[in-house]
């Protein structure tokens, strides 16, 4: 494959598209599929055929505004005014197709307001625009140009230099400089090296990686292949949780397509470089998102972390040098190579470059996926793009970083999103889950929910995490039930300190964060439960009802 051939494929695809007057794109991400967008697509296709219009009904990946699903995007070829419909059901099909050469169906139009204001799509540039199962559509949108460029015009070191210069940092949450990691693996010596894509997204409220894998899997494959070339790996593993069947099936199909097109396998693009990717399914353990546990899981062992050092870059899969990056990190690679490190470094803040995908959930109007340049104030994300808190309720906090993160109150909402800024206020960037809470949320209950999550997801290997999270959960339950004393609170704070500083892996080290951050900003709520058996959100029944069930209902609502 050469860049000319890529161009040819792109032209063929564009010519095909030009055959139609209208393109009717139906979102087939998990969110919309759960509302039967697959049946909707079938009905739309039938209606389109019956209408005799030159209309192409096709599936695409996630369009972002999951709250308004099922989504349909109508793209009339004679104008650049796309129409985004939301809440479309089978019964609307006839009307929708009939409206193509007339006025749009008013009642189905999405009320976007500021949803797209300030968003910048790099990782999601193809999401909702291409059929994720067709590699040629990816190619038609500049796909695989970066790989061909890297393989034919660059050497591994200059690829690493580009990534370093771009300022890209790990999107799994840790924020380790990607270029530095690649450079370390490239320098490590071993008869074989591996590239692993971490798609074991497990934070409550996070679905960024799932969407990327469902909507644009080729982008991840291209990123991994470029990485393999840069670090000298010949074998890759995509570790995806089994709870993402759609992502797995699209990735499986995409790997086959990529092999067919010669982007994987032996002598890729006619060069001496060979690389292939195998999928490994996670069996449902959150801790397997931790890199050493993930590696153990791929090796067929019990998914438990081991102490680092040695880091996987030196001694990873089967003791060999291993590069392990998150889905979103790999999804950033192709655009960086294609458009250059300087372009990417021009986006974001001084230390946090590029964009970040966030999954907005909780008490927010526009539940869905957004991609924003680093440095955007949280307030703009929540109240601008997110549309604020619905039902006239009052905003209380936004939770980032999942069970490892913390709750950020209103006073810090003007903070620009960056790794450092979020850590400074006691939360963390995390993988991108953003749960908005209003005044109906009890912060003690929220902390309790996340502690329960950490307790049940602890692998049980090290004492502080295994037994410490259980004890902390017990104390938090006691507080919620209105039965705790100040001594209990002191013990909780002490346990937070011990578990944070003595646990073996990131799960335990960050498990106290939801408690610490809620104690930092909402200590009065803890004290109200303890001193007055009062829950201002009315969530905890403080001794009258079973708080555990209420807590779970609270956060999952």
């Amino acid at each position: 494959m050469t860049s000319e051939e890529l161009l040819q494929i792109a032209e063929t695809v564009q010519a095909e598209h030009a055959n139609f007057d209208y393109e009717v794109n139906v979102c087939m991400g998990t969110g919309c599929m759960s509302q039967h967008s697959d049946k909707l697509k079938a009905t739309l296709t039938k209606e389109a055929t019956a209408s005799g219009k030159h209309c192409h009904v096709r599936q695409t990946g996630c369009m972002g505004l999951c709250a308004a699903g099922p989504l349909v995007l109508v793209d009339p070829k004679n104008s650049d005014k796309d129409i985004l419909y939301g809440g479309v059901h089978e019964a609307d099909s006839y009307e929708l197709i009939a409206s193509l050469d007339a006025k749009p169906v008013e009642r189905l139009l999405t009320r976007l307001e500021h949803y797209f204001d300030g968003q910048q799509h790099i990782v999601l540039e193809n999401s909702g625009h291409i059929d994720p199962e067709k590699i040629d559509e990816y190619i038609a949108r500049d796909g695989y140009q970066a790989l061909v460029m890297a393989l034919t015009e660059m050497d591994p070191q200059s690829v690493i230099d580009q990534i370093s210069k771009s300022g890209l940092r790990g999107r799994g949450g840790g924020g380790y400089p990607t270029g530095l990691k690649w450079g370390t693996v490239a320098k490590a010596i071993g008869p074989q090296k591996y590239v692993i894509c971490n798609g074991d997204e497990g934070d409550p409220g996070a679905f960024m990686d799932r969407s990327v894998l469902e909507s644009d899997p080729q982008r991840v494959i291209e990123g991994m292949t470029i990485a393999a070339f840069a670090v000298g790996a010949s074998k890759g593993y995509a570790y995806v949780r089994a709870e993402y069947p759609l992502a797995v099936s699209r990735l499986t199909a995409s790997l086959r397509e990529a092999r067919r097109r010669g982007f994987l396998g032996n002598n890729i693009c006619g060069t001496a470089f060979s690389f292939d990717i195998e999928i490994r399914l996670g069996a449902g353990a959150f801790v397997c998102g931790e890199e050493t546990a993930l590696i153990a899981s791929i090796e067929g062992l019990r998914g438990q972390p081991r102490p680092r050092p040695p880091y996987p870059a030196m001694s990873g899969l089967w003791g060999l040098p291993t590069l392990i990056n998150n889905v979103e990190t790999f999804a950033n690679i192709a655009p960086i190579i294609r458009k250059g490190a300087d372009w990417y470094a021009g986006i974001g803040t001084e230390k946090s470059k590029g964009t970040k995908v966030f999954a907005l959930t909780g008490k927010i109007t526009n539940t869905g996926l957004v991609e924003i340049p680093m440095g955007m104030p949280l307030r703009q994300i929540v109240f601008g793009i997110g549309g604020g808190v619905p039902d006239g309720r009052k905003f209380k906090a936004v939770q980032t970083g999942g069970p490892s993160g913390g709750c950020i109150p209103d006073e810090h909402l003007d903070l620009p999103v960056s790794y450092e800024a979020l850590t400074n206020v006691g939360s963390m960037m995390g993988s991108g889950g953003m749960i908005v809470m209003d005044d109906t949320s009890c912060m003690v209950n929220v902390a309790r929910f996340f502690m329960e999550f950490c307790m049940t997801e602890s692998c049980g290997k090290c004492i502080p995490c295994r037994a410490g999270t259980a004890q902390m959960f017990g104390i938090l339950s006691k507080i919620c039930d209105g039965k705790a004393s100040h001594a209990d609170l002191d013990l909780l704070i002490d346990l937070c300190d011990v578990v944070k500083h003595t646990s073996l892996c990131g799960l335990g080290m960050t498990a106290p964060n939801p408690v610490l951050s809620t104690l930092r900003y909402f200590k009065h709520e803890y004290l109200e439960h303890i001193d007055h058996q009062h829950c201002r959100a009315g969530v905890c029944a403080c001794g009258t009802k079973d708080a555990s069930q209420l807590a779970a209902a609270e956060v999952t609502a």
């Binding site: 692998c459 090290c462 004492i463 295994r466 017990g474 011990v498």
Partner: protein
């Protein structure tokens, strides 16, 4: 001279010590009579860094490091005891006491238990957190041995000795987090498992979780040092001595 570079010098608790490059802080500390408490570590088994008792402070590192797996480095400055470490170690010991049903007075290992003696040496006089008192099984199906999960602290020494030394891999861990338990085979009764009846697991078990039926009612000291002897003998037979 490659030989010379294989030796590192470092400081542990203010004492200058030398070490081979492949040694751990724990090894070097013990060579120099500096006591670092351990529970999951056992000479002769692989290290897993799970009990977190052997955490030490390293100058310049924000994190605490498990000395059982921390390799020496030139110029390293290590502190093995401080008020902070003491508090962490006490708390880490309290946790397993509260986690399951450790009733020292009626335990077969009373007086020969590593958890019990560590509690004492680390100055633990009571447990601040509530006892969880889970309901756990006692499996006495084996003709010689018993596993009492009430006393298990999940150090996984049995798992490691069975897999690494005996080569049988009868023991493993099932479940996760607070619900983890050690199992034989695929959670079959011990007596019906593929156990070779070698008894190594009983000897390495630091508490009364694994014990010999014949020792009930009498002192039950354990002799984990057989492991290092076994290693020496295996080494010698490999070299044909």
């Amino acid at each position: 001279m490659s030989v010379a570079t294989d030796v590192k010098t470092l400081v542990i608790d203010g004492i200058n010590v030398s070490a081979r490059a492949d040694q751990t802080i724990l090894e070097v500390a013990r060579e120099n009579n500096i006591n670092i408490p351990t529970l999951c570590h056992l000479d002769g088994l692989s290290d897993v860094g799970a009990c977190r008792l052997c955490l030490v402070e390293v100058k310049g590192s924000p994190k605490l490091n498990p000395s059982c797996v921390l390799k020496v480095e030139e110029g390293m400055e290590v502190t093995t005891s401080s008020d902070r470490l003491k508090h962490y170690r006490q708390t880490i010991l309290e946790l397993p006491f509260a986690e399951r049903n450790h009733v020292c007075s009626v335990c077969v290992a009373n007086g020969h238990c590593e958890l019990q003696s560590l509690g004492q040496s680390q100055g633990l006089t009571h447990v601040r957190m509530p006892y969880r008192n889970p309901q756990l099984e006692v499996d006495a199906s084996h003709e010689r041995f018993v596993v009492d999960h009430n006393r298990c602290i999940l150090c996984t020494r049995c798992v490691r000795v069975c897999g690494e030394v005996e080569g049988a891999h009868v023991w493993d861990v099932m479940g996760r987090g607070i619900d983890s338990i050690v199992i034989t085979d695929l959670c079959d009764p011990w007596g019906e498992s593929s156990c070779t009846r070698c008894g190594k697991c009983v000897q390495v078990c630091p508490t009364g979780a694994l014990f010999d039926k014949s020792k009930v009612g009498s002192p039950h000291p354990k002799y984990p040092e057989f492991l290092t002897n076994l290693q020496v003998m295996r080494e010698a037979s490999r070299e044909g001595l």
